[in-house]
Symmetry: C2
Subunit: 313 residues, 2 copies
């Protein structure tokens, strides 16, 4: 074997390939409905990139057989009233608000204004709190499933697709023995993701700009959930012991150091920026998912179907 050749046969797996499984399921599910479901997007943001994303959501939703309506709100201050309008509109089954709008805590307030039974993104406080506490249903009778936030859910589904989740193990143990580094600890993706992975049995190093924390499944009796510990390792030490490295740094300038990556590691980037050096990482990683957007949108539409089932339950 020549020294010139890459040392691993890294597979680059695209989001559209992974999403296909879910889009097929969604289509099959929709075919059985008596009328199409309606998703409404609310855009109160002059950013052309946000509009592009909004249109792209709409295109995918329509292709799969949903109705999609984009409402553009020229004045940010009208957004709250629009949210309440669509909350109360019986023809609307799901709502997505394109953030940032104000770019501060008012955005979190507005997110919570979305009716819980139309929140396809799974960002209502109740859903997030259920997720952290590993509570999977909304009711004691276990008829209504709690909704998981789209992007963390997409990462989980990608890991299932890649075979990182071991289906021979019991549910909740399927990442047992696996070590994961997650670079991002936002409230929307990084922290919920670390908790979900820990709840499934992984040891998770959650890194942000300030520090690294360890998330592991809790052993406490009081809450069936992950626990968090301080970590004294460097990012290099964490990464070198990690089977999976997941990045989500929203910066063009950030690159995860390729030399920290363990040979054969699985890499997933959920940032819209490229957090890995595409060429270099192929020589080290075993599998690499450079972008996840299409899986995220499938999860959003899957949540829309689930919300309808909850309503019927």
């Amino acid at each position: 074997m020549s020294a010139e050749k890459p040392t691993t046969a890294c597979k680059v797996v695209t989001a559209s390939r992974i999403a296909k499984k879910y889009t097929e399921e969604i289509k099959a599910h929709i075919a059985k409905l008596d009328h199409p479901l309606t998703l409404v997007g609310l855009l109160a943001n002059a950013d052309p990139a946000a509009k592009l994303y909004a249109n792209w959501t709409g295109k995918t939703a329509k292709q799969l057989g949903f109705n999609y309506r984009l409402i553009e709100i020229p004045q940010k201050d009208q957004l709250e009233e629009e949210i309440y309008q669509v909350n109360n509109d019986e023809s609307v089954d799901g709502i997505i608000v394109y953030f940032p709008v104000f770019g501060n805590r008012q955005d979190q307030y507005l997110q919570q204004c979305v009716a819980i039974d139309k929140d396809v993104e799974g960002l209502n406080f109740k859903y997030i709190s259920n997720m952290y506490h590993n509570v999977r249903y909304m009711d004691d009778g276990e008829t209504k499933k709690s909704i998981l936030p789209c992007t963390p859910l997409a990462v989980i589904k990608i890991m299932e697709y890649l075979g990182v989740y071991n289906e021979l193990l019991d549910y909740g143990d399927r990442l047992y023995g696996k070590t994961v580094t997650v670079v991002n600890r936002s409230e929307i993706v990084g922290r919920p993701l670390a908790a979900l992975l820990a709840n499934d049995g992984a040891r998770v190093y959650s890194a942000d700009i300030n520090d690294i924390q360890i998330y592991e499944r809790g052993v406490g009796l009081r809450l069936r959930q992950h626990q968090v510990k301080e970590c004294n390792l460097t990012l290099e030490q964490c990464a070198k012991s990690s089977d999976i490295i997941i990045t989500g740094v929203p910066s063009k300038d950030y690159k995860f150091p390729t030399q920290y990556i363990k040979r054969g590691a699985v890499l997933i980037n959920f940032s819209s920026e490229k957090n890995f050096d595409d060429e270099a990482v192929r020589k080290v990683a075993s599998m690499y998912v450079p972008m996840i957007g299409k899986v995220t949108i499938s999860m959003l539409l899957r949540n829309l179907l689930r919300l309808r089932e909850n309503r019927l339950a």
Copy 2:
């Protein structure tokens, strides 16, 4: 009259004087209870200033006849579990969490973990949303009052005390014709305060570091609430037409420019820093409340009594 004398006879009104009315009411109310109510403070913050504030809350609560228990949590990551513990503890009537803990959005998540029927600070999303929409009860039967956030409520009560609210006018019109400038638009105080004042009939200039917005009572049929408009005036123009100026800038270096203040204006500072030049403003203002902390804590204890009434209702 000598030119040396101040041009107005400004009254400096202390928070303790204003709070007295409410503390007397609270004591009278407590005397009628069959057992004392218990407030729990959760402190997961090594900041000595936070501990000082926690102890001071405790001292006031005990003086008035409440039980107060401070729980110190050495590891921030245990705070969420502690919140759920006290949520479920039937001997606890009210909970206050001393923020900041993580200093990011995780703090907002944690605030929402506090049980709504023990949230003395009035920061549960449901309370905030009711406040913005001018909804005063939790139920259609109007038996349970919605809780207002402590600090904005304290400012309102101060304005009532100072006679800025005109009690001859109908409820909801008592600030009709008044113009108010609020320098701070945080989600915790500035924005809710602007909305409350607008709901009571005032024209409010809400200023933050980025821009100035106008809050006025809405005329829309869809929601009985304030509306927000863009404002093209400078802070100087706004202030010079304002009967009341309220500041809350959390910085030692910030001083509101005295030359912007209209002769005879009422000044209230809710920042823990002195946002007005104490000496200079006395020559212009008619009334000046330099700090409001003691009124805020009365409102917190008043909310605690109200939560109990809601439970009995």
